[in-house]
């Protein structure tokens, strides 16, 4: 096996992983702040894909340009969902939260089925088949774009939490809820903003993903699971962790797929998840135990 070849596999794995990471960012942010595990995560992602698809279909707009629209749409969905539903379930036991979001997920998936039908829907873009030749390497253009955008969005989200007033206030809620309430922060609003932002990341991830995968209603569960694996490995609540987790999963799938049986590649992702849960339950970049 030539070294160029191994390098090619590594690049493909890393690029796919970055997109996975973007999708997991939102899940991570929501958990980090509210300790709510969003089991309707994959559904939101598919929602973002459908928004981008609709804009493409009706107006011929490029999903990359429409990324902000998909993000905004999902922000609204996330904000409302948190404000008027999930908010009443912040303090309940995990299994109740789980059931609640599962029911939401069920409604979403089947609403997609009713509205869009079961067919896979994709976009046809002139550059969808392009790739760059770098020496002996062939690098997929769409994946490269998607990966760059994923990193950019992660950076923006990080900046938001670090620099803006709202971002700092949200972090305050996460660190010390009672303290935040005492100083008069509007926790309800801040939680809803966080949920909205998490959903917006997922929406943006969905719009990007549409360049790589055709959307159909039953993608949802797989993405939810994949999202979980990634954030746990990276560290629930850690933004760089989500990206790292994505890249690690991308790489492990790539190498497992190449050197072992391709159909077993996600087994390695689950294996990795088990190891991380046991030995670093807070994830690779998660805040200390």
């Amino acid at each position: 096996m030539s070294p160029e070849f191994i390098l090619g596999i590594a690049i493909a794995g890393t690029l796919t992983g970055a997109v996975y990471g973007l999708m997991a960012l939102g899940l991570s942010a929501i958990f980090g702040v509210m300790r709510v595990v969003n089991f309707a995560h994959g559904e939101m992602m598919v929602g973002g894909m459908y928004i981008a698809y609709l804009l493409y279909k009706t107006m011929g707009l490029d999903p990359i340009m429409m990324l902000p629209v998909a993000a905004l749409g999902l922000f609204v969905v996330g904000y409302l969902l948190q404000r008027y539903l999930v908010n009443y379930f912040i303090e309940v036991p995990e299994h109740v939260q789980f059931l609640l979001l599962l029911a939401v997920a069920m409604v979403f998936t089947n609403a997609f089925l009713m509205i869009f039908g079961p067919d896979a829907r994709g976009v046809q873009l002139p550059y969808a088949f392009d790739s760059y030749n770098v020496g002996p390497l062939v690098i997929d253009k769409v994946r490269l774009i998607a990966a760059v955008i994923a990193v950019l969005i992660a950076a923006l989200l990080g900046l938001f939490f670090a620099k803006t007033r709202t971002g700092k206030a949200i972090r305050a809620c996460a660190d010390n809820l009672t303290g935040a309430q005492v100083v008069g922060l509007d926790v309800k609003h801040l939680y809803a903003v966080t949920f909205g932002l998490g959903a917006a990341c997922v929406g943006a991830g969905g719009a990007l993903m549409l360049l790589l995968v055709d959307v159909h209603p039953h993608l949802t569960t797989d993405y939810t699971l994949l999202g979980f694996i990634i954030v746990i490995i990276g560290g629930l609540g850690s933004l760089p962790g989500a990206l790292l987790g994505g890249v690690l999963i991308g790489l492990s799938e790539a190498f497992a797929g190449f050197f072992l049986a391709a159909s077993m590649k996600s087994m390695f992702a689950f294996g990795l998840l088990i190891l991380v849960l046991l030995f670093r339950p807070n994830g690779l970049l998660g805040r200390g135990a």
Binding site: L113, D119, A120, F129, V138, R143, V213, G257, F258, A262
Partner: protein, 410 residues
């Protein structure tokens, strides 16, 4: 414990009485029964759940087929049920349809659900016509009430591999090596077994240098395709479903993986409209060897324009075709049986012989296991965005192209 049809509890008794009265009289009430009511056919399809796409495609075969069959003089009424892509639901739905008076069942596309419905049919003694499901085991269980119109996966594979040799002979290009990339589910695995068994048996001219199984739920096939490319084989042989077929070819273009051609020995995916729509010019020249619409058939001439008018965005494919034929088989058996008595219907199904088909092949007829062996596999090549029959000559509307033009030359 076998229950007769709940709709005609008296009908059967009348029948027995008249049979006792004399054979000549027996025909009379039968005919009256037939005239009285259409056959109640319970249709079981996965219209929701992860197979919803195919289930709804099959359902179109029922919905569009009914008026056509009525025009042909068949008398049939359907009771639809959704299996939700689950064998458990399929079983209870089958029980429910029978309880509500279904006199025959038809469905269910996936092999697992078909198996569980076949068991219900056996227990109740209600005939069951399988439109699509390729697992050979379905007709190996000794079931007396199950009849399958679709070919088994070994039949598909044998037909598909045989046609490859014809293709190579006719185009004068024979690959020496091939990569075999297949989906890792029950269908993919039984095709794999079939292909491996047939390679020596049919003395195929090429060697399979790499076999790659991939996850049916894969959302990224870049690594699988890279692996295939690394094998540097002449031909790319595949067994796919739809979404993975799209991912695979897109990846092949991006990775500039050129071969003599992409050929499927019998699987869905590449002939579908979504495939052509998403991949555009890159969808062209892919070959699928599969039973297809007989371009010369009257039924085809009747149905195709109707279909394209009603569903301009959907594929006129064999999900539709085989479901239509399955309904036709059911209606035809009822007409010949002249009664909705399950035994009479089963007997009539066993004697089925439908020569005027929609799909390629000889007459539909069932062997002692309930398998229709009359399907003929043809080579369907995508040309200008449409699947066209290219082999064998008696069905062909175009000449096959092999090797195919390079991605960059399209």
């Amino acid at each position: 414990m076998t229950r007769t049809s709940t709709l005609f509890p008296l009908g059967r008794r009348t029948l027995l009485k008249s049979a006792a009265a004399g054979a000549a009289l027996a025909a009379l009430p039968m005919r009256r029964l037939h005239a009285a009511a259409p056959l109640k056919l319970g249709v079981l399809l996965p219209r929701s759940g992860f197979l919803a796409l195919i289930g709804q495609a099959c359902q179109r075969g029922v919905d569009m087929g009914l008026p056509v069959l009525k025009d042909m003089g068949y008398d049939i009424e359907v009771m639809n049920a959704d299996t939700e892509s689950s064998p458990d639901v399929g079983r209870t739905q089958a029980e429910k349809l029978i309880r509500e008076g279904a006199q025959m069942l038809m469905g269910t596309f996936d092999s697992a659900t078909t198996m569980s419905v076949a068991q219900v049919a056996e227990q109740k003694g209600i005939p069951f016509v399988v439109n699509i499901a390729s697992d050979p085991k379905i007709t190996e269980q000794g079931y007396k009430y199950t009849f399958r119109v679709f070919p088994t996966s070994p039949q598909l594979g044998a037909g598909g591999m045989g046609l490859m040799k014809t293709l190579f002979a006719q185009t004068g290009t024979t690959p020496k090596t091939a990569v075999f990339m297949h989906v890792n589910d029950s269908f993919g695995m039984s095709m794999l077994a079939g292909v491996n068994a047939l390679m020596p048996k049919l003395e195929m001219p090429f060697k399979i240098v790499e076999t790659i199984a991939y996850d049916p739920r894969a959302k990224d096939l870049s690594i699988e395709v890279a692996k295939a490319k690394a094998a540097k084989a002449d031909m790319h042989m595949v067994v796919t479903r739809l979404n993975d077929a799209i991912l695979m070819v897109r990846e092949m273009v991006k990775q500039q993986y050129e071969t003599q051609g992409i050929i499927s020995p019998g699987s869905p995916g590449m002939y579908e409209r979504q495939f052509a729509k998403t991949l555009g010019k890159y969808a062209d020249y892919c070959v699928t060897n599969i039973p297809w619409f007989d371009p010369r058939s009257d039924l085809n001439k009747e149905l195709e324009p109707r279909f394209t008018k009603a569903f301009p965005d959907e594929t006129y494919d064999i999900n539709f075709g085989f479901t239509f034929e399955a309904v036709l088989v059911a209606a035809d058996a009822y007409k010949r049986a002249g009664s909705a008595n399950p035994q009479a219907l089963t007997e009539a199904l066993r004697k089925t012989s439908i020569a005027k088909r929609l799909l390629t092949g000889t007459a539909i007829a069932f062997d002692e296991k309930g398998q229709n062996n009359g399907n003929q596999v043809v080579a369907v090549q995508n040309r200008d965005g449409k699947p066209q029959v290219v082999l064998p000559d008696q069905f062909a509307v175009m000449k096959p192209v092999y090797p195919v033009p390079a991605w960059s030359k399209r």
